[in-house]
């Protein structure tokens, strides 16, 4: 299916850009007239993935984060968050609730759990040393749903 609308965004992996990234994605999705809850869910999931790219992918060094978002005719929103950072050795383990490699940073190990709860689908592809791509899919019921 061809998207009705799509956008690409890139920015440095500074933690100040977490708010920018989720707000920009929300502004893009706003055209679908989502409910406040739907918009909050999407912002939260994007915030998790962007924070992971900053904290884990790039380990707080300043490099570039890439986001694409697309809206499909069936009200499906697909958001891809990509880093060219350290990558993930064992994706299944990484996605387990409470698993974290940064307890000292007070990460709760719940980022993926939150994404999975708030999205219909979370796909993670990663290559150690090459980077990680998280693809979030959420179909909006919208105001008539």
């Amino acid at each position: 299916m061809k998207p009705l609308n799509e956008m690409k965004l890139s920015f440095p992996s500074k933690s100040a850009n977490e708010a920018f990234a989720r707000t920009a994605v929300a502004a893009f999705v706003a055209a679908l007239d989502p409910t406040v809850d739907e918009l909050t869910d999407i912002k939260t999931a994007v915030s998790e993935a962007v924070t992971n790219a900053i904290v884990h992918g790039y380990r707080e060094s300043i490099q570039t984060i890439y986001i694409t978002a697309a809206i499909y005719p069936d009200n499906r929103v697909v958001i891809r968050i990509r880093d060219k950072g350290c990558g993930i050795e064992d994706i299944q383990k990484a996605m387990e609730p409470l698993y974290t490699t940064s307890p000292e940073g007070e990460r709760a190990g719940l980022g993926f759990a939150v994404m999975q709860s708030l999205c219909d689908k979370v796909k993670v592809t990663s290559r150690p040393g090459k980077g990680t791509t998280v693809t979030l899919t959420r179909t909006l019921a919208g105001r008539n749903g």
Binding site: E18, A19, T44, E106, G111, S117
Partner: protein
């Protein structure tokens, strides 16, 4: 984002406001911990009334303060959770801490 911290008797209350993400949690954590370590309160209250956004970084903040209060021999309470934040706490698998939602996490 900001935090205002008040000590009344032996209760230390941190009023959080704005968007609670990884970026702001760092400074907020330091402010709360400094106040708690100075005051050694019986109870630390985190008040979420004015928090407009929260991701799992906020859960890390709660869990970390819970550990701190255990260490200090005090108690942590979570108050005034807006619905969207209850959702993150609950969805993140924190049902077992569900008594948060009615006011307190006891040791």
């Amino acid at each position: 984002m900001s935090v205002r911290i008040y000590l009344a008797e032996d209760i230390l209350t941190a009023y959080l406001s704005g968007e609670l993400d990884h970026h702001v949690v760092r400074t907020i954590r330091e402010e709360i911990d400094e106040a708690a370590e100075r005051a050694h309160p019986a109870v630390l209250v985190l008040d979420f009334r004015d928090v407009t956004f929260m991701d799992s970084s906020g859960i890390g903040l709660v869990m970390g303060r819970y550990a701190l209060m255990q260490e200090l021999g005090g108690e942590l309470k979570i108050e005034n959770l807006p619905n969207h934040i209850k959702k993150v706490m609950r969805l993140a698998g924190l049902e077992r801490l569900a008594n948060m939602e009615t006011g307190g996490v006891r040791k």
